[in-house]
Structures are given as structure tokens and as C-alpha cells.
């Protein structure tokens, strides 16, 4: 991730703090935290009385599983469909903004390394 070296002096305060994500381990920790949170939430289903309108809701961990599989299935669908739907960026050019740069008059480009 860090093929570009940043000079902390030039970064805003919050940016300097966030430099900790430059370290891949911290990112991994975040992911592990997510796993743990998921596990906890799944278990939580067994500790309260669910109020439901549709019977499937009452299935333990229904939302968790549904969320997970819905997401995976949809992504896989997207992955497959992408093969058919994707076209070159200039496909509609020049009738399209996709193929052109955003004009400078609308921008206020400023970089930290100017």
C-alpha cells in the first residue's frame, strides 16, 4: 500500500493520525475485529426474544446469514455479468463524459506537494 512515501509534516492532523493504516498489521487487526464482532452478533440472536412478522425472521441468525449470502451471491452475479456488460471507456465517445477529463474551470485542484 505504501509505495508512495508521505511526509507527515505536510499532512493535516487527522491525516497524520491515520498514517497508522500504512501498516498492514493494523488493517488486519481491523478485519479480525470485524470477524469477532460478527461472531458476537450471531450469538446475540440466542439471547433475546425476537419480535417478528415473517416466520423466517425467527430462524436464528437469519439476518446474518441472509446478509452474508445475499451479498456474496450478488457480487458473484455482478462478477459474471461484468463480462458481458463491460465496454471500453471510449465506447460512447465523444457523446459521453466518461471518456473526457473533467474540465479545469470547474475544479480547484490543489496538492500537498505542489
Amino acid at each position: 500500500m505504501a509505495q508512495f512515501k508521505d511526509d507527515p509534516e505536510k499532512l493535516p492532523w487527522l491525516g497524520r493520525k491515520l498514517m497508522l493504516f500504512d501498516d498492514k498489521k493494523n488493517v488486519d487487526r481491523l478485519v479480525y475485529g470485524l470477524y469477532a464482532l460478527c461472531a458476537l452478533l450471531f450469538l446475540a440472536d440466542f439471547f433475546y426474544k425476537k419480535k417478528y412478522y415473517i416466520s423466517a425472521e425467527n430462524f436464528p441468525g437469519f439476518y446474518a446469514l441472509y446478509g452474508f449470502f445475499a451479498c456474496v451471491v450478488l457480487v458473484l452475479c455482478a462478477k459474471v455479468l461484468r463480462r458481458f456488460l463491460m465496454r471500453d471507456e471510449g465506447f460512447y465517445a465523444p457523446q459521453d463524459t466518461e471518456s473526457e477529463d473533467h474540465p479545469d474551470h470547474d475544479l480547484g485542484k490543489e496538492s500537498h506537494y505542489d
Binding site: 487527522l14 491525516g15 440472536d45 439476518y63 450478488l74 456488460l85 463524459t97 471518456s99 470547474d106 500537498h112
Partner: protein
């Protein structure tokens, strides 16, 4: 007296005044003040019908104030205010005037008590908004704007046709709840559907909004589609077909949102999905569902605006909003990133964020009415929203592969606008009753129940888990410079090609025919010239003998005729 004038007049005055003010902050101030005054105006307007007049035999109502209209009117004012703040740096008269007129038209349409008034403002939004796209001043934006305009205006003229038919059928132009059945109502429905980006009628949305200017997209995202939702809620509450339309709308753009490269376009797909929720809500039509639709429109406008502002800020600083070109901005634009994450959390409907309090209303309404499949679809869409918007946008813009871009933080006024919006997102999430009290119907709904919070977190975090795993496995589709085919292919590629070939054929046959006619004509003239021209037989000096011959023949014929009689 002033409070019963349609608030549109205020915006109109502002728009007329603006070009005469000195360029710079005075104009910016005007664009900020107008929505504020407008909001107060709306807030203080007494309920009921105002500005009634009979005109050309039509009973027009310029200002119908009820809770449904007020909630939309207020959120539109709010959006106009935030957008104006966000656009404080803008020095483009056209955009400023267009913004005022656009917002004013949208608000005018919301308070329209009859179909004709609605039509007037409906077209007003179409015309005013296109300038926000053209203001990008590039060839692509010009073409996109033309497509956008044609579609928007087609919605308008279909509305006009529908209202004429409706007027003929019922003798009234009142804008009340209608039942689908007659041609007129179907036309009106279709007209609303176009602006609401129903499936297959939706491509203008994805086409146009990312093509607008940095500030233009923020403005665009607020009004047109929400106005359509309002119109559906007003005109077709409880129309069953809307449930299914909405469910499809909520689900299918997922695929596109996931593979789309331009993040502002991803946002538009997401917008489309959110509209799906609202449409379902309108379709269910119970008090809970309609409240849900209104509330979702309200919160949706805010968090959409927030995200568009965030992406706008990125675009403003880097010159691109494409996922493939971005990444690693979190260090140099950390505030923007945080605010974006707030927006993402809102759209993903994390508890304590605004999306949660409105989306839940609709989901619950679907469950209460036992639209099981629709409910399941919405739930899946909800899970998907986290992926394609909640995670994808912040991830690819601010984290992800480092693009090496080190832009400066967004300007202060942008941050201020985003900050205010983010505060509203959280505020509404924490204090839902503020919003619930504004809704058209009495709300008897507790959003923060244990079940609700836990199930929602399960749903969201497990989809996040799915994302994490898919990323790890390298299955998640990574951004790539590309465009995605959609139904607009029919009118952007296939249609023109067909027209081109038909035109070719028509031209060829026309040339052939006209050439033939021209040749026949020339031949005729030639023949006439040969016979009647100065050297022709008919004009020649005939010898006397020939004349005498003629006399003899004619005499013979006359005699024959006479004697045969």
C-alpha cells in the same frame, strides 16, 4: 398574505435578482438566504388550499399546504441551502440562477394542488436542471445534457397528455390520489415513472448526474427524483404495481453499482436503489409505508447529498471521481473521508444514522403487509447497499490501492456544508422523533428495539464480512476503466445506428425518386420545348397550304358532327 404565496415566487425573485448583483459572495449569500427564508415561509404556511384561481376554465391551486407537502418542501429547502453553501466558491451565474430556479420549481411542484400547476413546475425542473449539466462546458456534457433534457421533457409532455386525458375523463384537474385504469392515469403514472427512474426508464439518471459539475451533481441529486416520489405518493398511494416496480428498482442496480468505475455514478445507482425503497413504500400505501417513503426521501436527500458532496470534493481537488484513479486519499483529505464515512453509514442504515430510521419504516411496512418476497428483496438490497456504497465508495476513494494523489483537504465551505449534513444525518439517527413528527401520518413506531438493532447489525456486518472475504479471495470485482452497458445502449448506439441506416435508405430512395421525377420533368420540358419551343413544330411558321388543309379537315369534322347528330 405573504405566507400563502407559493414559495416558488421567492426563488424566482432570487433568480431574477441574482444576475444584477455584483459577482462574488453577495450572490452566494443570496443563494443561501433564499432557501432559508423559503423554509421559514413553508414552515409558517397555514394548512389548506391557497392561491386558487380559475384560469382558462381550469381550477388551479398554486399552494396546497398539508403535511406531505410540507415535509418535502422543507427537505428541498434544506437541500437547496446545503447545496448553496457547498457551492459558495462558485462564480458561474448560469449555475447559480439554474439552481435557484430548479429548487424553486421543485418546491413549487410539491405545493401544486392541481395537475396543470404540477405540469408547469414539472417542466420547470427539467429546463432549469439541464443547465447544471451543460455548465460543465464539454462536448460530452453537451450531449449528455441533450439526452437528459429530451427525457425530462418527454416526462413533462407525457404528463401534459395524461392530464389532458384525465381532464377530459373526469372534468377536473385536481391532483389527488388516482386509480390506474384509464389512458390518462397511465400516462401520468408513466410520466412520474420516468422522473422516478423506474427500471428501463432509469438510464437518464446514471447518464446525466455524473456528467454535471462538481456542485451541479449535488443539486441534481436532491430534487427531480424525490419530486417524482412525492408525486407518486400524492397521486398513486397504494398502487400495487409500484411495490413490484420498487422492489426491482431496489435490487437490480446493485450489479451496476458494483462494477461501475465512476464513483459518482455508483452513487447514482445507489440513489436509484434508494428510490426503489420509496416506491415500494408508496406502493404498499399504508400509513406506515407512506410515512416511510416520506421519511426515506427526507433522509435520502441528506445522506445522498453528503456523499455527492464528499465525492465532489474529491473531484474538485483531484479532477476525477473514478475508482480506478483514486485511492489513498485518507491521509490528505481525512475530514472529507470521515464525513463520507458518516454518509456511507447513513446510507447503509447503521443504527444511530439517519438511513436506519427511515429504511426500517419501509421494511417493517412490507413485513407487516406480508409482502414476503418484496421484503426479502429489500433486505438483500439493504445488505448490498453496504457493499456498493457503504464500503465501496469510501474504500476505493480514500483507502484501497494508493493512487499517489495527495490533494489538499476540501475548502472550508465544502467541509462546513458536509459537516452540517453529517450532523443532520447523525442527529436524525439519534433523535428520530424530530423527523417522525413531521411525517404526514401519526407515527406509532419505535425504531430502536433490541430485535431491530441486532438484526440490522447482523445484516450489515455479515455483508461486510462477505466483502472482506471476497476481497481476500480476490473475487471482488476491482475497479477498471470502463463503461457499462445498460438499456441506454438502445438509444445511444442501436437507435442512432438504425436511424442512420433508415436515413440512408430514405435518402437513397428519395434521391432516386426525386431524381426520377426530375428526369421525367426535364424530359417533359425537353419534349415540350422540342414541340412548343421557338423552333418547335407548334411555334413554327407553317406554310399556307398546311393551314388550308387544316381548314378543310376541320370543316369535314364539323360537317360529320352536324350530320351525325
Amino acid at each position: 398574505m405573504i405566507d400563502v404565496l407559493p414559495p416558488f415566487t421567492l426563488y424566482l425573485l432570487g433568480a431574477l435578482l441574482l444576475p444584477f448583483l455584483p459577482k462574488g459572495h453577495v450572490r452566494g449569500l443570496l443563494t443561501i438566504v433564499v432557501p432559508v427564508v423559503g423554509a421559514w415561509w413553508i414552515w409558517s404556511a397555514p394548512e389548506g388550499l391557497h392561491g386558487q384561481m380559475t384560469w382558462m376554465g381550469l381550477e388551479m391551486v398554486w399552494m396546497r399546504v398539508d403535511k406531505l407537502a410540507v415535509v418535502f418542501g422543507l427537505v428541498f429547502s434544506l437541500a437547496a441551502f446545503l447545496a448553496a453553501l457547498y457551492a459558495w466558491h462558485l462564480r458561474d451565474t448560469v449555475q447559480q440562477v439554474a439552481t435557484l430556479l430548479y429548487a424553486g420549481s421543485a418546491i413549487g411542484a410539491v405545493f401544486a394542488g392541481d395537475l396543470v400547476t404540477l405540469f408547469l413546475f414539472w417542466e420547470g425542473t427539467a429546463i432549469a436542471s439541464v443547465f447544471l449539466i451543460w455548465a460543465r462546458r464539454t462536448e460530452g456534457a453537451y450531449a449528455t445534457g441533450m439526452r437528459y433534457l429530451v427525457i425530462q421533457i418527454s416526462s413533462g409532455v407525457i404528463l401534459l397528455g395524461g392530464l389532458v386525458l384525465q381532464y377530459h375523463d373526469t372534468g377536473s384537474i385536481a391532483f389527488e390520489a388516482m386509480t390506474l385504469g384509464s389512458l390518462g392515469t397511465w400516462a401520468i403514472f408513466l410520466s412520474f415513472g420516468i422522473k422516478c427512474a423506474f427500471p428501463l426508464l432509469h438510464d437518464w439518471l446514471q447518464d446525466a448526474y455524473p456528467a454535471a459539475t462538481v456542485t451541479g451533481t449535488v443539486v441534481l441529486s436532491a430534487f427531480t427524483t424525490k419530486l417524482a416520489v412525492y408525486a407518486l405518493a400524492r397521486g398513486f398511494p397504494g398502487t400495487e404495481i409500484l411495490i413490484y416496480i420498487g422492489a426491482v428498482m431496489a435490487l437490480f442496480p446493485f450489479v451496476y453499482a458494483l462494477i461501475e468505475n465512476d464513483l459518482r455514478r455508483v452513487m447514482v445507482y445507489s440513489l436509484n436503489i434508494q428510490l426503489g425503497y420509496m416506491v415500494v413504500g408508496v406502493g404498499i400505501g399504508t400509513e406506515l409505508a407512506l410515512n416511510g417513503a416520506a421519511a426515506h426521501a427526507f433522509t435520502g436527500i441528506l445522506y445522498k447529498a453528503l456523499l455527492f458532496m464528499g465525492l465532489g470534493a474529491v473531484l474538485f481537488r483531484t479532477g476525477t471521481a473514478k475508482a480506478s484513479e483514486l485511492g489513498g486519499l485518507y491521509k490528505t483529505m481525512p475530514v472529507t473521508m470521515v464525513l463520507c464515512v458518516i454518509g456511507a453509514a447513513s446510507i447503509s442504515a447503521f443504527p444511530l444514522f439517519s438511513g436506519f430510521i427511515s429504511k426500517s419504516l419501509i421494511l417493517s411496512a412490507a413485513a407487516h403487509e406480508h409482502h414476503n418476497i418484496v421484503w426479502a428483496m429489500l433486505l438483500a438490497a439493504s445488505a448490498g447497499a453496504l457493499i456498493h456504497t457503504g464500503i465501496k465508495i469510501p474504500y476505493f476513494a480514500f483507502f484501497g490501492a494508493d493512487s499517489g494523489k495527495r490533494p489538499k483537504e476540501a475548502p472550508a465551505h465544502m467541509l462546513l456544508a458536509m459537516g452540517l449534513t453529517a450532523a443532520l444525518c447523525i442527529g436524525l439517527g439519534v433523535f428520530p422523533s424530530v423527523l417522525y413528527d413531521m411525517l404526514p401520518y401519526e407515527v406509532d413506531y419505535d425504531v430502536y428495539t433490541t430485535t431491530h438493532v441486532i438484526t440490522q447489525l447482523q445484516l450489515l456486518l455479515f455483508s461486510a464480512l462477505g466483502f472482506a472475504l471476497l476481497m481476500k479471495a480476490g473475487i471482488f470485482p476491482m475497479p477498471q476503466r470502463s463503461v457499462t452497458l445498460s438499456s441506454d445502449w438502445t438509444y445511444r448506439k442501436a437507435g442512432p445506428a438504425v436511424v442512420w441506416y433508415v436515413g440512408l435508405a430514405v435518402r437513397a430512395s428519395w434521391r432516386g425518386t426525386s431524381g426520377l421525377i426530375a428526369k421525367l420533368y426535364a424530359d417533359f420540358i425537353k419534349a415540350m420545348h422540342a414541340s412548343a419551343g421557338p423552333d418547335g413544330a407548334r411555334a413554327a411558321n407553317w406554310p399556307t397550304g398546311a393551314m388550308v388543309m387544316n381548314i378543310a379537315i376541320l370543316l369535314g369534322i364539323v360537317l360529320v358532327v352536324i350530320f351525325v347528330s
